[in-house]
């Protein structure tokens, strides 16, 4: 181990020293970062990396992470940390504690994309042997992407010392790519090809196809070249096949994810419209209220309990349910209850209501989008293989939709309220004769539907605008889902949402987003001709009215 590290450091020093002619002192080099000119900064960055100083990686990380500041007074480069009465600053080179200052005393060292790319690459090379496996993985990936020839030796050494299997796999892949591109002997290339053809990464595909094109362009190829070209083609086909497979899986995932968004948006409507028969045009606004509740909860957290900010989204779920639910109850008691049995008139009243609610939110919160941030645990991707990465927030939305549906089914099937609700919607008069307070049940049912819509708003705040128009964007789709699935049936809503989502995603690559949507709409129109009451139609006399 020790020997390899020494070898690598030596190699790095040698290699980096050749890049910057004069290996300079780190502090001196860092001064270059104070320049306003990005070319100067880039030069400084390269010099820093070449200095071989153990703190150089630390400095570059700080620069990349946006935690490198210059003091306005002395032009010293410092990193800062927030403390109660300002910022604790430390000299970046010497790690000397420089006391507490205010943010106005510091100016941030800005970097641009080019520097960002460069630093990542440099840091990647410097961190191949870092203690943290995650950083080593990143380093291997960064070498894989940039493929510098001089990294072949350090990378093979790092691979030999690697204990973590997933990091080792990434290093092996990177090394194979390096050998394939820079390999001197056909044997080395052929060996690398064996590893590469097992990958499922678009980058590998482009690597192989570039090579295939190069080989195909050779005039009068020798038999060896021909044979090698054939092998490359075979490898390419293999990778392609895997990528196509992954593409289908990705499509299904995206379809389910879109379906779960539709499900969330529609499920509240499945209750207010499907079960109660209210053509609830204000449903979208309930979703919007849920999203704004999320915003308010998050702001409260930000101001009063910043430590709990990461959990604010979870706290927002019951909050949104309650706020939207109460709105729903208020709407039911003040308007809807006078309109039972006149479904088309509920359309007009709730439409008017939706205009009022939109303007109300606009008056209170202003017309602009509000920021609802995603907590750390919801951002990023779950990398299954190189070509397939599922985003955490989409996974979370799928799970959330499933949970909401499950809870709702539980409420409807297993609670006495659910029983009363079904009784009232199936035969109001008889239910009333049995002593059920139909008015109360109506209010609660509408409240439940609205509350669920509010919870959908929490999820939508993660992927869409939090603006007064949020609800409008989903109302038409929600109605389509409920009607397609069959009014009054939650399973229908589920199947409807998922099938529309998946169909949409499979059409999209061929038709584009707009035509896919048009096709879906036309499909719904035709489907309703075939089954005029949706996928899962309720049967019986009650349906006729």
């Amino acid at each position: 181990m020790r020997i390899t590290i020494k070898t690598i450091i030596a190699a790095l020093l040698f290699l980096l020293a050749t890049q910057a002619s004069a290996s300079a002192d780190l502090a001196d080099a860092a001064k270059g970062l104070l320049s306003k000119n990005y070319s100067d900064k880039i030069l400084a960055t390269e010099t820093i990396a070449a200095s071989g100083d153990p703190r150089s990686a630390f400095l570059l990380e700080a620069l990349l992470g946006g935690n490198l500041y210059a003091t306005k007074s002395g032009n010293r480069l410092v990193s800062r940390e927030k403390v109660s009465d300002g910022y604790q600053i430390k000299d970046i080179v010497t790690d000397e504690d420089l006391g507490v200052v205010q943010s106005g005393d510091l100016s941030k060292i800005r970097i641009n994309n080019r520097m960002r790319g460069l630093i990542k690459d440099l840091v990647g090379r410097l961190t191949l042997l870092n203690e943290d496996p995650a950083l080593r993985l990143k380093a291997a990936d960064s070498v894989f992407k940039s493929r510098p020839k001089e990294m072949i030796v350090p990378l093979s050494d790092a691979l030999a010392a690697e204990a973590d299997s997933s990091v080792a796999a990434a290093m092996r892949r990177a090394l194979a790519a390096l050998n394939f591109v820079h390999g001197d002997t056909p044997e080395a290339q052929a060996e690398a090809l064996l590893i590469l053809e097992e990958q499922s990464d678009p980058e590998v595909k482009s690597l192989l196809s570039a090579e295939a094109n190069r080989l195909a362009a050779i005039v009068n190829p020798s038999p060896e070249v021909q044979e090698f070209a054939a092998r490359v083609d075979r490898a390419l086909a293999k990778v392609d096949e895997k990528l196509a497979m992954l593409g289908i899986i990705e499509n299904i995932f995206q379809g389910i994810s879109l379906g779960s968004v539709l499900l969330l948006a529609a499920i509240g409507l499945a209750i207010t419209f499907g079960v109660m028969g209210v053509i609830n045009m204000a449903h979208g606004e309930m979703v919007m209220i849920g999203a704004y509740t999320t915003y308010v909860v998050q702001e409260l957290c930000r101001n009063f309990a910043p430590d709990l900010l990461v959990y604010s989204l979870i706290a927002a779920i019951p909050a949104a349910f309650i706020v939207a639910g109460l709105c729903g109850v208020a709407i039911e008691r003040s308007i809807i209850r006078f309109l039972y049995g006149r479904p088309l008139e509920t359309l007009l009243a709730t439409w008017g209501l939706s205009l009022i609610l939109q303007q109300f939110v606009r008056t209170i919160f202003g017309p602009t989008n509000k920021e609802v941030s995603s907590p750390e645990w919801l951002s990023g991707t779950l990398e299954i293989t190189g070509g397939l990465a599922l985003t955490y927030n989409r996974i979370a939305i799928i799970l959330f939709a499933a949970a909401v549906l499950f809870m709702l089914l539980l409420v409807l099937r297993k609670t006495s309220f659910g029983l009363q609700m079904r009784a009232v919607t199936q035969n109001r008069r008889m239910a009333a004769s049995m002593g059920i307070r139909t008015g109360w049940v109506d209010a609660m049912t509408f409240g439940l539907g609205s509350g669920v819509a509010g919870m959908a708003g929490v999820a939508l705040s993660q992927i869409d605008n939090v603006s007064p128009n949020l609800g409008q964007a989903y109302i038409v789709d929600s109605f389509m889902v409920v009607v397609f699935g069959g009014v009054g049936n939650l399973w229908g809503t589920l199947v409807g949402a998922l099938s529309l989502g998946v169909t949409n995603k499979f059409l999209e690559p061929y038709t584009g987003a707009v035509l896919a949507k048009i096709c879906i709409l036309v499909f719904i129109i035709l489907f309703i001709q075939k089954r005029p009451r949706g996928l899962f139609a309720l049967k019986g006399r009650a349906v006729e009215n």
């Binding site: 053509i279 045009m281 308007i335 006078f338 309109l339 039972y340 049995g341 006149r342 479904p343 088309l344 008139e345 509920t346 359309l347 007009l348 009243a349 439409w351 008017g352 209501l353 939706s354 205009l355 009022i356 939109q358 303007q359 109300f360 008056t363 409008q472 038409v476 109605f479 389509m480 009607v483 009014v487 707009v514 035509l515 949507k517 048009i518 709409l521 036309v522 719904i524 129109i525 035709l526 309703i528 001709q529 075939k530 005029p532 009451r533 949706g534 006729e544 009215n545």
Partner: protein
């Protein structure tokens, strides 16, 4: 009294006139007066006169009249046949597009790129020749035929499928909404060849008359009023005939009507097509007066609004629909100018108020009140009863 219509031996028009409800005659009278007085006052009276109608108001009124015709068409199917279309804006817009295409072709080489055949947006999208569906639109009669045919055929095909499959009630409403939404998305696409989001605009003249001249505006206004009057007569004729009786029967009890031996779907189909054609005509008159037609006319919200005009005015009363269209649109014009921050509260409040307190719209409810005043022994309105709108 409406039943007397078929017993008279007079010509159909005369019998229609005599068969009109009293309100109808007044209504036609008002239209006639408007068609005469508005242009005269605009042309003859000095601007300072309090009775002078400024040109601005003429175009505004012209726009309202088109909306009124659209409301009438919705009322015909919703008020009398129980078909709630949430996609009637589509027929309106299609009629408008047909007219817009004619107006576009009239521009000729006066567009910015000076191409004598292709409209600017096609030149711009690198199209080399006119797509086939634009052929013929340089001829006014053909364009007018399309104004009638395109909405009519679409309504026929759509209705044929929907009514034969017995899609009713909310389901029908939602698929009409799906239809207009699909058309909205389709017309948004620039590749469709209808100008995408910007739609058709920059119109120059109609039948050789400059669209910006007051005289043209007045003529368009008068034409719209005449169209509204004729549309009203057509609707009256339909609703007062035996056909109209069957429609009302379908509205109130579809199954019973079917069991009585009527082919419900044909009745519905007929009235749906007529209504779509009326909406198309309204659209065609609307476009030259506002100077633009674009896909936002297809948006589901627009179609819902039309239904609301009818509801506010009074469903099932033809001139109630007209009144509703005027009132709501006037309210919109007035409030968006005078209370730009609060007008949505007022408009939204109006809709809620109407459904709660005027369930039969302004006309229906005031009729009820008058009846009440007359015989003071009317039953209380039964909230919760199955949907039915009583006749005047």
């Amino acid at each position: 009294m409406a039943n007397t219509i078929f017993k008279t031996n007079k010509g159909p028009f005369v019998s229609l006139m005599t068969g009109l409800p009293g309100g109808g005659k007044t209504f036609l009278g008002i239209l006639l007066v408007a068609a005469l007085l508005v242009p005269l006052s605009n042309l003859l009276l000095p601007e300072t006169s309090p009775f002078h109608v400024p040109t601005y108001l003429v175009s505004l009124m012209g726009k309202y009249v088109c909306f009124a015709l659209l409301a009438l068409s919705v009322d015909l199917i919703w008020g009398f046949a129980g078909i709630l279309s949430l996609g009637h804006g589509a027929f309106f817009a299609l009629g408008g597009y047909a007219m817009g295409m004619y107006l576009m072709r009239q521009i000729g080489d006066r567009g910015v790129y000076g191409n004598p055949v292709l409209p600017d947006f096609m030149v711009f999208l690198n199209w080399t020749e006119l797509p086939w569906y634009w052929y013929g639109f340089d001829m006014f009669p053909f364009a007018m035929l399309m104004v009638l045919l395109v909405p009519g055929v679409l309504a026929f095909v759509f209705g044929w499928f929907a009514f034969r499959s017995r899609v009713t009630g909310v389901y029908l409403s939602i698929i009409t909404q799906a239809m207009t939404y699909a058309l909205l998305l389709a017309f948004f696409r620039n590749d469709m060849g209808f100008g995408g989001n910007n739609g058709l605009t920059d119109f120059k003249d109609l039948l050789g008359f400059d669209l910006q001249v007051t005289g043209t505006r007045l003529s368009l206004f008068v034409a719209s009023v005449i169209a509204l009057g004729l549309g009203y007569l057509v609707c009256c004729f339909i609703t007062q005939s035996k056909l109209g009786r069957v429609l009302v029967a379908i509205r109130d009890a579809e199954s019973r009507t079917r069991f009585s031996g009527y082919r419900v779907e044909y009745y519905k189909l007929f009235v749906f097509v007529v209504s779509a054609v009326l909406a198309g005509i309204a659209g065609a008159l609307y476009v030259p007066q506002v100077g633009i037609i674009n896909p936002s006319e297809f948006s589901p919200a627009n179609s819902i609004e039309v239904v609301i005009w009818v509801a506010v005015g009074g469903r099932g009363t033809l001139w109630g629909a007209v009144l509703g269209a005027f009132l709501v649109n006037w309210g919109k014009s007035y409030f968006t100018g005078s209370f730009p921050e609060a007008w949505l509260y007022m408009l939204g409040g109006l809709f809620v108020f109407t459904t709660l307190f005027l369930p039969k719209g302004i006309v229906g409810t005031s009729a009820t009140w008058i009846e009440k005043l007359k015989n003071r022994r009317r039953e209380s309105p039964d909230i919760g009863a199955p949907l039915s709108v009583k006749e005047e």
